[in-house]
Amino acid sequence: MPESPTTSLIHARGLTKRFGTFTAVDAVDFDVAPGEAFGFLGPNGAGKTSTMRMIGGVSPVTEGTLSVLGLDPAIHGPQIRARLGVVPQQDTLDNELTVRENLLIYGRYFGLARPEVARRADELLEFAQLTERRADQVEPLSGGMKRRLTIARALINEPQLLLLDEPTTGLDPQARHLLWDRLYRLKQQGVTLVLTTHYMDEAEQLCDRLVVMDKARIVAEGSPRDLIERYSSREVTEMRFPVGIQETLDGRLDDLAERIEWLPDRVLLYADDGEAVAVAVHDRGLRPETVLVRRSTLEDVFLRLTGRTLIE
């Protein structure tokens, strides 16, 4: 992990955001290296968006240090924003304008000359697969198209750093996969991506490195693989027993796995060899209704770190 602010695109130490007495972000430390895809993973209200807004130079830091592209957002907000692309959680497209006009005017906000903006807009329409819709109003576009347009818009200034706040929330699987593909291409081109998500598959697909946030703090940090190794096992065996049986199993499985989680409807056994666990259970004369052996995912890490309680 890069430690010095000179090599990091983003450098945060003790970064804190308070709204009155409420602490949204509580003394977090992190660095993002050039070319990296870095994720903030966490449940709703964990402080991800507040952190992104501070990085984006639109929300003042309450305490701590933050440097973005080597600059202080408190002093150089506009200079930082000139080199950022921002994809906000809520669409902020102009529904009164056409698809292409949305790109043109956004380029003008950066002070780009009209011919240059027009050239980039046409390229980005192609990139976002929206060329055929370029003259249409924004309003009737599907959610996936609007997101793609928002991403295209965020690229109009050829940013070094792209901030994406829950880029695929609310999209259908096809739209999500298309978006991931576009983001992956950007990463290949050397654009640094910083994203928040509560989708584990998204984090695993896109992020080289991520931090898990919970209750305004960072509770874990590493690559998806690191985190799985550290906080989960290689495999998970999920078993569902007939009604009434699960309650009688207390203590009878404890030696079979590194960790066992008892959920109301099933038992999760965390072990390196899930198949062996399933066989051992069978050997003990137990007959689960269903057995599923799968690889551990970030979701297991996430639930272990942030708990299963519903956050609302």
Binding site: F19, P60, R81, D91, L93
Partner: protein
Amino acid sequence: MTAMVGTIGRVFEHRALSYRRTWRSSIFTSFLSPVFFLAAMGLGLGGLVDASPSDALGGVPYVVFLAPGLLAATVMQTAAFESTFPMLGGLVWNRIFHAMHATPIEPRDIALGHLAWIAVRMTMISTIFVAVIVVFGAARSWEVVLGVPAAVLTGMAFAGPISAFSATQKTMDKFNAVFRFGVTPLFLFSGTFFPVEQLPVFLQPIAWVTPLFHGVAVTRALSLGTAFDDPLGLVVHLGVLLAFVVGGGWLTVRAVERRMIR
């Protein structure tokens, strides 16, 4: 400073781009409104008023009295409209102001660009209005062309404070009250349709502190060609309007900054 002019200009450019979609109907409305009002109130009602001439109107036909007052009052109404819905739209409904803030544009630029656009709209409306006044033969002096900047100043005296108010709102619920208890009474009682001296004595001071009263006084004096007969009065009227413009502009910048930088 030049950078700031540039960023304000881009906010303005956005409004102009949106306006391109509706400019024809908008210009047409700006033209029809004074024609209808002057025909109905000036000629129709004026025919009755002029049948029993009164010194209160300064010895001119009613349409001559009414037209410049209506200019200021109409501009005020449009300014109020342009200061409410587009402001809340940018902050809350389509969140376009937040999209702008993600670029080098600052909230201050957004506030000032919004006001600059309103000033241009006011100029368009009052130019058309003054042309209609001239066509109706309701101007007594070529000074009426100075009624354009005077009306813009009047409109901006409302645009600032109302925009500042709008920037503090989360919903449009209170806009109705702004129009019903603010704009409409001013429209009726600030000397547009009759001299404020006709009001009960205790109500007259209220008229004096509202910008529309001063705006009407200036546009009317210009249209009648009497504005420069009373330089001190002119300076006071313009001073009051200017104070509202500057104060309202400052409040708008502050309100938009408070709303967006958090």
